[in-house]
Symmetry: C2
Subunit: 248 residues, 2 copies
C-alpha cells in the first residue's frame, strides 16, 4: 500500500470523546471551515451551512439533547453541519424565480451530501492539525429542539454536530469491515461472506475487550443486530416534512 | 492560515473531467477503498458499499445514463458509492431479528451519510496520490436503470459515481462562497450578506470567463437561479419508496 502523509492521516482516524480544556483559536476555526468549503459540492450549489458554537449555554443545551455526552459541551470547539436549501431559496426569491424544486427528494439528498463532504474534509483537516474529532448524530434526538436552539429556518436540516479539540485520550483504532465485504466488483454481490464476517467479529470482539479492560464482549454482527431493536428517531420524518425537504 | 500537506491537498481540490488513458493498479484501488473505509461511520454500522467498475460495457452503460459525459467511461477507474442498509438487514435476518427499523428516515440518512464520508475520504486520498476525481451525481438520471445495471438489492441507493484517474487537464480552482455566507456564529443567520454575494458573483464571473476563454458569462447567484427551473429527477422518490428507504 502506497502511503503518504495524507493517507496516513486518513487511516489513522479514531473518534475522540475526551478533549483537553483548550479552545481552538479563531485562525484554527477558519482553517477548518476553509478546508470544509474546498470539498466537492453538487452542481456547485454549496447546499450546506456550518454553525460554529462557542456559547457555553448553547453547548450545554445541545449536550442535553445529545444523550448527555460530556464531550458535546467540553471540547475545543463545536460545529453543526446543516443541510441547507434555504440559501438557494433566498437567492432564487431575490431574483424572482420559482423555488418549488427545492422540496424534492433530489434537492434533499444534494443538501445532505454537500453537508457530509464538507464535514469529512473538516474531520481530515482537524486530524492533520493534531486535533481530534467526534461526529455527533445524537443532536437529532430532539430534532425540533435542536432546530429551535440554532434558529434554523425552513429548508434546512441539522444533520450532525462535530466536536473538535485537543485529544485527552488515545483510543485504539476501530477495525473496519473486511475489504471484500464492502467492495463489490462490477455488480453488487448480495451474498455475505460468512468467513470474512466471522473473522471480523473476532477482531471486533478483541477490540472491545482491549478497550474496556475485558468488560465489554460484543461482535460487529451482534452490535448490528442489537441496533435493530433500539428505538428510532420518529420525529425525523415529520421534521423533514415541516422543513419542506424531500416531499416529492 | 496554518498549512500542512493534508490541508494543502484539501484546499487544492478541483474536479477533473479529462483523464489519461492509464488504468489504476489493483494496489491503488485497494489503497483508495481502505482510505474510504477509515472514515467515520454512524454508530459503527458502516452502512455503505463501494462498487468498483472496470468492465468497459458497464462503464459505457453508466455513461449513457450520466448525460453522456465521456469521463464516466474514460478514466483510470470508476467507483459507485451505495447507501446500503441491505447488509445490516442480511445480518439481522441471519440472527433472527426484526429489521423493520431499516425503512425509517433515520436509517436512510445514516446510509446516505456513511456513503458520503467514505467517498470524500477516497477523494482526498486520490488527490494526495496525484490522481484526479469527479463526483458523478448524474448516475441518478435513470435511477432504476442504474440499479438494474449494478444489480442492486432492496434497501440500497446508488448515491453517486466517482471517476478517478490521472488528470489530463489542469483546471483553475473554483472559488467557494465567502466564509461569512457559509459560516454562522452560534445561530443560523437567515439574512444573506448582499455585499459578500456581490463580490462572490464577480469572482465566479471572472472564473468562468477565464475557463471558457470569455464565452461563458455567469455569476453564482445566476447559476443558482437558473438551476431552480431545471427539470428534476422525479423518479428518486418512488425509487426510495421501492427500496424501502425513508418510508417513515
Amino acid at each position: 500500500m502506497e502511503l503518504n502523509p495524507v493517507i496516513e492521516t486518513l487511516l489513522n482516524h479514531r473518534s475522540i470523546r475526551k478533549f483537553k480544556d483548550k479552545p481552538l483559536t479563531q485562525d484554527q476555526v477558519r482553517t477548518l471551515v476553509k478546508s470544509a468549503q474546498a470539498a466537492a459540492t453538487s452542481s456547485f450549489t454549496q447546499s450546506y451551512s456550518i454553525i460554529g458554537i462557542d456559547d457555553p449555554k448553547i453547548k450545554k443545551q445541545l449536550r442535553a439533547i445529545a444523550s448527555d455526552q460530556a464531550y458535546v459541551e467540553h471540547n475545543g470547539y463545536f460545529f453543526v453541519f446543516v443541510a441547507d436549501q434555504h440559501r438557494n431559496r433566498a437567492v432564487g426569491e431575490k431574483n424572482g424565480a420559482g423555488t418549488s424544486v427545492l422540496d424534492t427528494t433530489q434537492r434533499m439528498i444534494v443538501a445532505l451530501g454537500d453537508a457530509c463532504f464538507a464535514a469529512q474534509n473538516m474531520a481530515v483537516a482537524a486530524e492533520s492539525m493534531g486535533l481530534g474529532i467526534c461526529y455527533i448524530g445524537s443532536i437529532q434526538n430532539d430534532i425540533y429542539k435542536t432546530a429551535e436552539i440554532l434558529r434554523l429556518p425552513e429548508y434546512t436540516f441539522p444533520f450532525f454536530g462535530m466536536a473538535v479539540g485537543y485529544p485527552d485520550q488515545n483510543p485504539e483504532k476501530k477495525p473496519r469491515l473486511p475489504f471484500d465485504v464492502v467492495f463489490h466488483q462490477n455488480h453488487y454481490h448480495s451474498e455475505l461472506s460468512e468467513e470474512s464476517l466471522k473473522r471480523y467479529d473476532q477482531e471486533v470482539e478483541r477490540y472491545y475487550q482491549t478497550r474496556t479492560g475485558g468488560t465489554r464482549r460484543e461482535t460487529w454482527t451482534g452490535q448490528i443486530t442489537r441496533g435493530l431493536s433500539l428505538p428510532y428517531r420518529e420525529a425525523l420524518r415529520p421534521f423533514f416534512k415541516d422543513q419542506h425537504l424531500g416531499l416529492r
